[in-house]
Chain length 265, copies 2
């Protein structure tokens, strides 16, 4: 099972949109895919038409209680399994404050489903707190959606520091897989310049150790496309909502690129 | 002194861009303005060309130590005063966990500068934690930047709940002033529909009590404009960077609307 954490502490950069559309993209290629929503805002859950309050078990119960993944899968189009989030997750950080091994809870539960899935993708909140740490301690690969705006690089080094710490102290298998440029405004100098800066940043980072040595800028860029913002209001991925849109093209390209990334490993 | 908290727990909706440009807009109208950065990411600070690490005192010291506002103002163009943030603020929530009256720290310090300023604007992080609570406990008015996308309304009621709680338990002067539509994609059905929904939401909310009775959708909408994203890389507000841009027009319109909002109160 390939396991991916979608992270970026910056808000509104395309984490959820990428988590949902990559998951459905892979499911449509016949893979057995699970999407795990670890954000108290539950936007990935809502994006696929699931009401967090209707879920008997959510990732809140997974982290703070005895619930296992098997008891919480909701299946949507194309066989895609979803582990719903709920606002109660916001309390998890406080509730788990004193618990030993509180960053490793997800990893133990993940291990039990790894035989049944090809891909497991975790959508994380815009923070580097306990929820994101659980994701990082549990998965093999980190995907980083990034909006090529001015302060994108500023947050990047802090983020990579966190990834490095988790890799050394909690999860030796953790690898930085790549950056996905999102909300890409084609033809603007800003997008062009920041993309170049990100490329350069990872060129240097690659020499720093095994966590980084295969990190790349995915060549598939997700352009700004209003269809991607409309899809959630229909409870669908971009493929379910408007297959011919630029947004669908871009996430299809990303899906193919991710499949060959894993084929080559 | 008019005091404004710029809040929205959703990430990347234009809080910082609005805080910075409204502050400079008001300063350029001859007002005595202070911008207080309460986000550990310090994007407002960086936007105006200030390095958080170069600041002797930051809002971290304000919240967790003895530092007062007077010791930390940095003055930028047009006499605009800035209280810089720093990543250490991320630890403030934990550090202040046991402290009595920890949501009221900012209010006490704000009171000491109210004589010297016309406007004080606080840029908040994308969360409803201790930092945002301090801002809400300290100010008179709440401004809500909102991107008219599908899940915008979903977060709105949770947000208003928080404002209501602070108003009743910590700050009887707190008022919901208005929503500023940001990242507005003109001509799209999504922006149109969500704006209509927001308008309707506040029409109903207005009958719920004094906190809400003057809440409105500001008529000035901030359209998507790449210049707004470029300005931070020059350490300037949109007015300092490109006065003729659509972004400058829109924030100028908002500034005028805010001035008449206060003139009429
Ligand atoms: N390429 C795109 N084109 C147009 N709209 C987009 C695109 N990608 C995302 N959006 C929209 O932008 C908003 C923010 O995206 P998204 O929710 O995926 O970001 P996020 O990083 O998950 O945010 P958060 O930090 O709050 O979890 C959403 O309303 C989404 O529908
Ligand atoms: N109207 C606009 N047109 C184009 N770009 C914009 C506009 N408003 C904001 N931006 C850009 O979008 C990104 C997010 O905006 P901003 O940082 O102001 O949001 P925020 O709500 O403060 O985010 P956070 O939740 O991370 O604090 C920034 O890179 C900013 O420069
Ligand atoms: Mg998200
Ligand atoms: Mg901000």
């Amino acid at each position: 099972m390939r396991s991916i954490a979608i992270i970026n502490q910056k808000g509104g950069v395309g984490k959820t949109t990428t988590a949902v559309n990559l998951s459905d993209g892979l499911a449509r290629q016949g893979k057995r895919v699970a999407l795990v929503d670890l954000d108290p805002q539950a936007h990935a859950t809502l994006h696929l038409g699931i009401d967090p309050r209707s879920a008997r078990n959510t990732t809140y119960h997974l982290l703070t209680g005895d619930a296992e993944f098997a008891s919480m899968w909701r299946t949507v189009d194309n066989g895609l399994k979803v582990a719903a989030a709920h606002l109660d997750l916001a309390a998890a950080e406080v509730e788990l404050a004193g618990v030993v091994g509180r960053e490793a809870i997800l990893r133990d539960k993940l291990a039990k489903v790894s035989g049944d899935l090809d891909y497991l993708i975790i959508d994380c909140p815009p923070s580097l707190g306990l929820l994101t740490l659980n994701a990082l301690a549990a998965v093999e690969d980190v995907f980083l959606p990034l909006q090529p705006h001015f302060l994108a690089l500023h947050g990047l080094s802090k983020l990579m520091q966190t990834v490095g710490l988790v890799a050394s102290r909690l999860n030796h298998r953790l690898r930085m897989a790549g950056v996905v440029l999102c909300l890409y405004e084609s033809g603007t100098r800003l997008a062009n310049e920041v993309s170049g800066d990100v490329e350069e940043y990872f060129d240097h980072l690659r020499t720093e150790g095994p966590v980084w040595e295969h990190a790349r800028l995915f060549s598939s860029r997700i352009r700004r496309n209003i269809r991607l913002a409309e899809a959630p209001s229909f409870g669908k991925s971009i493929f379910g909502y408007d297959k011919s849109s630029a947004g669908a093209q871009d996430y299809h390209a990303l899906t193919s690129e991710v499949l060959s990334y894993y084929a080559g490993r």
